[in-house]
């Protein structure tokens, strides 16, 4: 279970989140609705992914605090999908997905290729694999980020505002894909903004007044 315990985030004197406590449902889709522009949702997701450290409090996965995870364990467990960017501009799309897998020796080389092909097919991005990141639009960049998480089969997928700019049909097929992933036992935490569809989520939260509140 992904658990936040007394989590506070602040930049200098600017408190972004204050004393957040939450148990996200495992093997389900959890959504966090943004309440404003600078509400700290991305920062919260990065703390959950272990990319940023909170000012105080802890993030736990299966009762273990994230700082106790080794690099490889953290990589295998938590995958963060950026809302913007998230790809290294020196590498092709394929290498952006493959290099971290090779670096951590998650799968053998030939298996990496097969798995990337499979994930790309699911997200309909096979034609993007040989391109460079600068050749992608923002929706394609977010799909590549998601493909990286799917290839990895991370236990927790943290998705930041993936729906912006997507047509309705794409959002529906994305929801089906995420539900299928959640049914396999993956915990999905997803930030949504106004206008995004979160009807497929099992648990919903809203981020307002520097706190996370469960709404359903």
């Amino acid at each position: 279970m992904l658990k936040l315990e007394s989590l506070s985030i602040q930049f200098d004197r600017n408190v972004v989140l204050n004393d957040v406590n939450c148990d996200f449902q495992s093997g389900a889709i959890n959504t966090i609705k943004k309440a404003g522009m600078l509400d700290g949702s991305t920062t919260l997701m990065k703390c959950c992914a272990g990319i940023m450290l909170p000012a105080s409090g802890q993030v736990f996965w299966k009762q273990r605090p994230l700082p106790e995870f080794t690099d490889r364990e953290r990589f295998k467990t938590l995958s963060y999908c950026y809302e913007w960017g998230g790809l290294v501009s020196l590498f092709s799309v394929y290498n952006n997905i493959a290099i971290p897998l090779a670096y951590h020796k998650i799968y053998p080389r030939n298996e990496i290729k097969d798995r990337i092909g499979l994930a790309a097919e699911k997200l309909d991005i096979e034609s993007l694999l040989e391109l460079e990141p600068f050749q992608l639009n923002d929706v394609q960049v977010r799909l590549v980020n998601l493909a990286r998480a799917l290839v990895l089969e991370a236990e927790v997928i943290l998705i930041d505002e993936i729906q912006s700019g997507m047509p309705h049909s794409m959002v529906n097929s994305l929801a089906d894909l995420l539900l299928e992933q959640a049914n396999k036992g993956t915990t999905i935490l997803m930030v949504t903004t106004s206008g995004d569809d979160d009807s497929f989520a099992q648990r919903k939260y809203v981020l307002q007044d520097k706190r996370l509140e469960r709404v359903s």
Partner: protein
């Protein structure tokens, strides 16, 4: 009256403090890089390193070959033309060739080419990665940016400079002999000419030249990586950083080459 020396001392102190902080940063970067070297023992990481190292070596060592060879040809011709006017014996020509070209000019020009072609490119590349938070992207994948971006450059730059020195000396030598053979009245045979030069290339001579390449390459690599990483949030930081870094590199590299020559010879 007392304010002038005090402000001078304050300025001097600030200068020394800044320089010391810069050198400490470079030493820190060097230590951080050395700390990553043991990771190369792991096969999976070595594969990733090898891919990035080959790319860097190709860009710095191989793609610089044509400019290096062209400058070496011009230098060889100019050197042969000038020196042959004053020198009649092949042994004397060889002495001057080793002292001027092998010891001093080849390391300096090869270093300048490395700085102008590759160090500026690496500074821009690292600056761009920093500006776009792409180091964080690697950290999000639990991948060390030092391993991915710094280690390949740390190894590729000295090796490239060493390769460039070999090109440069070989091409200058050949160009000199061809010029002497075709356009002057000297009747030096290639075998004698080559023997006279190689006879003067002692092990010490080769070691000092190699040391210039290795120390120079490492310093050039570290300085441009450090400069790239110092880019802030503005796009204009990148050209400013390249300009400042190139100036530091030229000073630093010349100091290393001339310092090593003074100590060794």
């Amino acid at each position: 009256m007392t304010q002038i020396p005090l402000s001078f001392l304050a300025g001097l102190g600030a200068f020394v403090r800044l320089r010391w902080a810069y050198v400490s940063d470079l030493l820190g970067l060097f230590t951080l890089t050395c700390y990553q070297i043991p990771h190369l023992a792991r096969h999976s990481k070595r594969l990733v390193f090898w891919m990035l190292f080959k790319r860097q070596l190709y860009n710095t060592g191989f793609k610089a070959a044509y400019v290096n060879c062209a400058i070496a040809t011009f230098l060889g011709v100019a050197f042969a033309d000038q020196v042959s006017t004053y020198v009649q014996k092949v042994e004397n020509f060889a002495d001057l060739f080793v002292i001027l070209v092998v010891r001093e000019i080849a390391p300096l020009i090869s270093g300048i080419i490395l700085i102008a072609r590759s160090a500026t490119a690496v500074t821009a590349e690292i600056g761009h990665l920093k500006l776009n938070d792409e180091f964080e992207v690697l950290e999000a994948q639990s991948v060390s940016p030092t391993f991915m971006f710094i280690l390949p450059i740390f190894f590729a730059f000295p090796l490239s400079l060493l390769i460039m020195l070999v090109y440069f000396n070989s091409v200058t030598l050949l160009a000199s002999w061809l010029y002497l053979d075709w356009f002057t009245l000297t009747d030096w045979q290639w075998d004698n000419f080559l023997y006279a030069i190689t006879d003067r290339l002692t092990t010490g001579e080769l070691l000092i030249t190699a040391l210039k390449a290795v120390v120079g390459g490492v310093v050039i690599g570290l300085v441009c990586l450090h400069s790239g990483n110092s880019v802030g949030d503005r796009f204009t930081d990148i050209p400013r950083t390249i300009s400042a870094s190139t100036t530091s590199l030229l000073f630093g590299y010349f100091a290393i080459c001339i310092g090593l020559s003074l100590v060794a010879y």
